[in-house]
Amino acid sequence: MRTIIGRQHSLIRNRRGLSNIIVVVLSFVILLVIVSNVILWSYQMNQLDWEKMEEAPNVSSVARMTRSSWFVTQSEYRVNKGGRTSGSFIDTQIVDGSYESFREASPPRELDINDTFSIDLAAFPQAYIQSVEIQLQYRVDDTGEKWFLKAFNWTSRTYSDSGFNSTIGHTPISGWNTYAVNLTGKWHSYVWNDGKVLVKVHDQGPDSTRTNIDINFLGVRAIINGTTLTIQNKGAYTAHLVSIWVNNSTVHKRYDADVFVNSGETFSYQLVDIPLPNGQYALKVVTERGNTAVYAAG
């Protein structure tokens, strides 16, 4: 024990090798700084390059989008004149074999129903809507009178068809009929700020026959001038699309994008704000990592 303590004391007093140790330790610190600053950074940048190489976006199709999807009623029709005989509003949401039936009232033998439809303005902002279309698919047992579609005019506070492309009504034939009206440039008067459209279906007026009407479909959609892209990510990493370019011989137009496409997935991207030019054009998408996918059309 005494020997050990004695050697410890002598080691502390003996400083001949201490400076060497300090120099080595400090050099090691400098080396560590260099390694951490350069080698680790190099590793990070290599990883960035590797990720870029592994990313493989592909634009598989580009199509003009002229119509939104249909917006159908989410509540039961309000019957102002006449009555409901069978079915429910759910039967009028898609074109299929199921329908909702109504019957004109006993004299004066009229039918008047209305309901609320909501255009999704988050997906189809008003700024990009060119017009609105209402479509009715119906069947009647009396082809002798016309049927009318009207919408609530928020300016005049009445149901109206003023400004519609057709105001003369629709004369049915036997079997299923499709009647569509376009609200033209006057659609602003018929769509509320939240996208609400109130639609009315009514007959021509009192007549001698008490008509039954089956409604297979009634819906509203926006007319737009947009683009639908189908983007495939064949790479191993998620692709973040940040730019979309639509180029032709005269104009190169860039649009901001913010879409993530998972590895191996195909994504359909609807762009209401990107009109496609006529003739030849190239559509390019650019990812955040700097990869580009090009689709040539026209």
């Binding site: 300090i22 400090l26 610190v29 400098i30 700084v33 260099i34 600053n37 350069v38 950074w41 190099s42 990070q44 940048m45 960035l48 390059d49 870029k52 940040v242 730019s243 370019w245 180029n247 011989s249 190169h252 860039r254 390019k284 650019v286 955040e288 990592r289 700097g290 580009t292």
Partner: protein, 133 residues
């Protein structure tokens, strides 16, 4: 107290130790600063990445849309068309930023040009581009 003031037998070793310590600290500081400066430049250069998203041949000029995909800010320092330096509007892009780099250039239709963009740290992006007909 008076005696201790006049007793200078231990002053020299203390002074020499302090001086050595100051010299050692100063030396290390210089060494570490130099390391930071040297490796910092290397680090910045290694962190530069950018891509040319689009090249648009306009009337009397060429516009190049650049995106900084790296981890360091970049400054366009030179643009060469067929190995000849061209005048261009200065462009600074922070990471993830993007913008047009415009240069005055009289191009001819249906001609292939080699365009090279060089940053202030020396990173280059170059490719061949055909002008429209």
């Amino acid at each position: 107290m008076f005696r201790m003031w006049w007793n200078k037998r231990a002053i020299t070793p203390v002074l020499s130790n302090v001086l050595l310590m100051v010299i050692a600290v100063a030396g290390m500081s210089i060494a570490i600063t130099a390391t930071y400066v040297i490796t910092g430049n290397l680090h910045d250069t290694m962190g530069e990445r950018f891509v040319a998203e689009d090249v648009w041949f306009r009337s009397g000029s060429i516009a190049i849309y650049l995106r900084n995909t790296g981890k360091m800010p970049i400054d366009a320092a030179a643009v060469y068309v067929d190995h000849t330096m061209q005048l261009f509007t200065p462009l600074h892009l922070d990471p993830l930023e993007h913008g047009w780099l415009n240069m005055t250039f009289t191009w001819t239709a249906s001609t292939v040009y080699h365009i090279k963009i060089v940053t202030s740290r020396g990173t280059q992006v170059a490719d061949y581009y055909r002008s429209p007909t």
